[in-house]
């Protein structure tokens, strides 16, 4: 039990980094980490010792995050000009604008991109963590990267391929 406790502690920095990138602010991120650790510790008996503890905890965090999104829709932007995203101007954006662009991605794309690019998980592990098929991981990853590239290049996202009747 003591050893498990230490292994869980060792996952904390990475859970925090992922939550920070996912939610876009440190207060929400730490709330999410706290909920994840509490739920993980309460259900530690359900974790198979031969499994990957980190992937299991990230799965718990994913479920909590989805619950949070369902419960409270994202807040409307305050009408403070300084906070409004810059209109696409054709100018490339700097690193500090990456975070804002990241928050403009649909949450499902953002999760896959962060698990692959930041957390450096294998695609199969991302599929298991998020409980989605591998093909869905790859298509979300591809769309997230292209979406982000266009945002960072100051271009509008590619038109979605909705069929309008």
């Amino acid at each position: 039990m003591q050893e498990l406790h230490e292994r869980l502690l060792a996952c904390l920095p990475r859970l925090r980094r992922y939550a920070r990138a996912l939610t876009g602010d440190s207060a929400s991120a730490d709330d999410l980490v706290q909920d994840t650790v509490e739920r993980g510790w309460a259900r530690i008996a359900q974790w198979r010792p031969d499994g990957d503890l980190r992937a299991w905890l990230f799965g718990i965090m994913h479920n909590l995050h989805i619950d949070n999104l369902r419960r409270s829709p994202p807040p409307a932007l305050a009408l403070d000009d300084g906070d409004l995203p810059a209109a696409p101007s054709g100018e490339p954006l700097g690193l500090r604008d990456l975070e804002r662009a990241l928050q403009q991605l649909p949450p499902a794309q953002r999760e896959v991109l962060l698990l692959v690019a930041l957390e450096e998980m294998r695609y199969e592990d991302v599929a298991a963590t998020l409980d989605i098929p591998l093909g869905t991981v790859m298509s979300r990853l591809s769309r997230a990267r292209e979406h982000l590239r266009r945002l960072m290049a100051g271009q509008p996202p590619a038109a979605s391929l909705k069929v309008v009747k």
């Binding site: 502690l9 920095p13 980490v33 993980g40 990241l102 990267r145």
Partner: protein, 270 residues
């Protein structure tokens, strides 16, 4: 070429037997190559943006409830011993493979209570950040074909004067011809504690290495060579006075250590 393989190329997860075919395809399709290069830069930029969180101290409310330990009823969840263990784990997680000295140094720093411990811990975090920043800068700029440097080696005098002025120190890029590397040029980068100079070298086969010179390392004491592995990039780094140096390349540790020795010798004042 299917998109899954292209994505795997971005993440360095392509099976080795497919690498040549994908790279041939990219050589023939510059627009695709530029798109995938942008994705690689996204990966590096996301690390640059968020990896600081790995270094940050964990607020107490986030710790999991302490498990019951025989003979230690009501043990505080975050004892000094736990903090030492955490510091050791952080050193491993932060350095992502920092071996030897750095972990021991962090442990010594965290083992002291009070202000001295906090200061040592801050300095060790800055030290641990050096190889990662160098590796990120290496990963971002070495793949550049057209603009790997801001000022090329053909304007060496200007390059040296400019970077020396910005870093407040007379810099001399080491000559690494004996090691098979020629200076390509250099660029100026922002760092946590001030401007950073990056010198880039290439060998005849196009293998690139970078020397990262960071100013404002006052809080650190001098160190010997440390080695960190960041993905496929090996980094030798050391502190000398108020400057931090990091030599990065995707070559073996032994080869890199020989080059690092040559760099170190040439940086010593005569």
């Amino acid at each position: 070429m299917n998109e899954t393989e292209l994505q795997a190329w971005v993440d360095g997860r392509l099976p080795p037997d497919r690498l040549a075919a994908v790279e041939r395809y990219l050589a023939d399709h510059p627009a695709e190559a530029a798109r995938l290069q942008a994705y690689r830069e996204q990966n590096a930029a996301l690390h640059a943006l968020f990896d600081d969180v790995l270094d940050a101290r964990i607020p107490a409310p986030l710790h999991p409830p302490s498990p019951a330990r025989p003979g230690q009823a009501n043990a505080p969840a975050w004892s000094v011993a736990a903090w030492r263990r955490m510091a050791a784990m952080l050193a491993v997680a932060v350095g992502a493979g920092v071996i030897g000295g750095a972990a021991g140094w962090t442990l010594r720093g965290a083992g002291t209570d009070g202000a001295a411990g906090v200061m040592a811990s801050g300095a060790s975090q800055a030290l641990a950040a050096l190889p990662r920043q160098a590796a990120i800068a290496h990963a971002v700029y070495t793949p550049e074909v057209k603009h790997p440097v801001e000022v090329g080696a053909d304007q060496q005098q200007h390059l040296v004067a400019w970077l020396s002025k910005r870093l407040g120190k007379q810099l001399r890029p080491p000559q690494l011809a004996n090691q098979g590397y020629e200076l390509v040029g250099g660029r100026l980068l922002p760092g946590d504690s001030g401007p950073v100079a990056q010198f880039m070298y290439a060998d005849a086969g196009g293998q690139r290495l970078t020397l990262f010179v960071s100013s404002g390392q006052k809080q650190n004491r001098d160190t010997g060579f440390r080695f960190a592995q960041e993905g496929n990039v090996g980094v030798f780094y050391w502190i000398d006075g108020s400057f931090g140096y990091a030599l990065s390349a995707a070559v073996g540790k032994k080869e890199l250590s020989q080059i690092a020795n040559a760099v170190y010798e040439q940086l010593q004042p005569n």
